[in-house]
């Protein structure tokens, strides 16, 4: 089996155990676009030791904060965030679906007032991976909000 080598980073973030196929969306959440100046690696559909396949994202020069970690949780709960400083892992944590999302995510209902007026979104976890919009009261799957 061939090996895919990706350079190490000295300062930045590695997001591992991303649900296969969601790596691109993680980059989008991190605000990475074609104008980003540092090195980025997106590895998709690699074998996971836990079984199945996963995506991995490595970004030089960007430290993921808690707010962004919550957004990543919406599309890939269970992903792990490794914060790299001086080429070493300075912090590692697993993202989990938060009970409440304030000022995060977008309501997928086009008729929801939050898509018309400037206001802070708010969602509450109601069951499993479902959230209810505080405003339009509709229920959505977590990954629809990211």
């Amino acid at each position: 089996m061939s090996t895919l080598n990706v350079d190490t980073i000295d300062m930045g973030t590695v997001v591992d155990h991303i649900k296969a196929g969601k790596g691109g969306k993680v980059l989008e959440i991190l605000g990475i676009d074609k104008d980003y100046k540092h090195r980025i690696a997106l590895v998709m559909n690699v074998a996971s030791k836990k079984g199945g396949t996963k995506d991995i994202v490595k970004i030089q020069g960007k430290i993921v904060d808690d707010k962004t970690a919550n957004l990543i949780a919406l599309i890939s709960p269970g992903a792990t965030i490794n914060i790299i400083k001086d080429e070493k892992v300075s912090k590692k944590f697993r993202v989990e679906l938060p009970e409440k999302l304030d000022g995060l995510g977008t309501c997928p209902n086009p008729n929801c007032i939050t898509n018309i007026e400037q206001c802070k979104n708010s969602f509450t976890k109601v069951d499993g991976a479902n959230y209810r919009c505080h405003y339009c009261e509709r229920k959505f799957q977590a990954d629809e909000l990211a």
Binding site: N109, N111, I113, E117, Q118, Y135, C136, E137, K139
Partner: protein, 296 residues
């Protein structure tokens, strides 16, 4: 306090409002809100909700301020948020209707005065639900174990969504009758069933032989891509005098109004037609609501 969604109310609180409306309707009680001002801000058309809010306020001794979107600074591009923040300083309680879902919740979040939802898009219309529950209890003497059939466009009618919630809370047996494609959202029904143990039946043809209450709402032609299909579905779901032969003698027909062509005009004079009485109950019920939100 605010009244934004039927979800915000406990069964005990609903009973308190219905009991209060009952006393008001019987002339045993009259809320005194003298010196207070109600502002009605309706960003989309209304006949019954707005007028009955204003009538209720006047009967409680209040004065009313009416906001007209057509002649307001909305025309200059003022936001909903800024409009609400401004009116907060002019009134003691605001009744709002808005085409966008969640708009009234947003209003309640940004001001400190009580806010009552007069309908927000396809989401909620809690005072209509209270009127419906009040009408059913008043006409049938109870809500528990009643067979209530809801018929029409159950997908888009906000009154129906809220009403299913209220009926489930009070233990009615609910049958939903709607044309294919206009059924009530299944995730919403699952939620209500899980919360209150609602046993709901679904049908796609008009059937109400075992109904104690038949609650009808409009099927809008614009929901159909094909105008011919729209006409044929509307005709199939129209209630005619002869259809009532097989119905229970004491069936109560309710409708949030406006009705267009879903109930034959000749039914208006029949004892089963209770929809105008239902609309009139809007006044004592909204008097009870105004008292409820102003005193908490």
């Amino acid at each position: 306090m605010d009244l934004i969604s039927i979800r915000d109310l406990e069964k005990k609180e609903i009973k308190e409002i219905l009991d209060s409306a009952e006393e008001i309707e019987a002339g045993k009680k009259k809320p005194d809100l003298h010196g207070k001002i109600l502002a009605t801000l309706f960003f989309e058309p209304s006949t019954r909700t707005k007028l009955s809010f204003q009538s209720a306020a006047m009967r409680c001794g209040m004065q009313t301020l009416d906001f007209s979107p057509e002649t307001s600074s909305l025309k200059k591009g003022e936001s909903f948020h800024d409009t609400i923040k401004t009116v907060e300083g002019y009134a003691d309680v605001l009744a709002i209707r808005h085409p966008k879902e969640g708009a009234v919740r947003l209003a309640a979040d940004v001001i400190s005065k009580p806010v009552v939802n007069g309908g927000d898009g396809g989401n909620q219309h809690p005072t209509q639900t209270l009127i419906d529950l009040f009408s059913i209890r008043k006409i049938k003497g109870k809500m528990e174990q009643l067979n209530v059939t809801l018929m029409g466009d159950l997908k888009h009618a906000r009154t129906m969504r809220s009403l299913v919630y209220g009926l489930a809370m009070f233990g009615s047996n609910v049958t939903l009758v709607s044309p294919k494609g206009l059924e009530m959202d299944s995730t919403y029904l699952e939620e209500v069933s899980k919360k209150f143990g609602l046993n709901v039946k679904m049908k796609d043809k008009p059937e109400y032989a075992d109904a104690d209450v038949l609650y009808v709402c409009r099927i809008q032609a614009e929901r159909f891509a094909d105008p011919y299909e729209a006409k044929s579905v509307q005709a199939k779901f129209m209630i005619k005098k002869e259809d009532l032969k097989d119905a229970k003698k004491d069936l109560a027909i309710l409708h949030p109004l406006p009705k267009i062509n879903e109930i034959e005009n000749s039914i208006d004079e029949m004892p089963q037609a209770q929809y105008f009485k239902q609309a009139h109950y809007g006044v004592p019920l909204r008097m009870a609501v105004l008292e409820h939100v102003m005193k908490r």
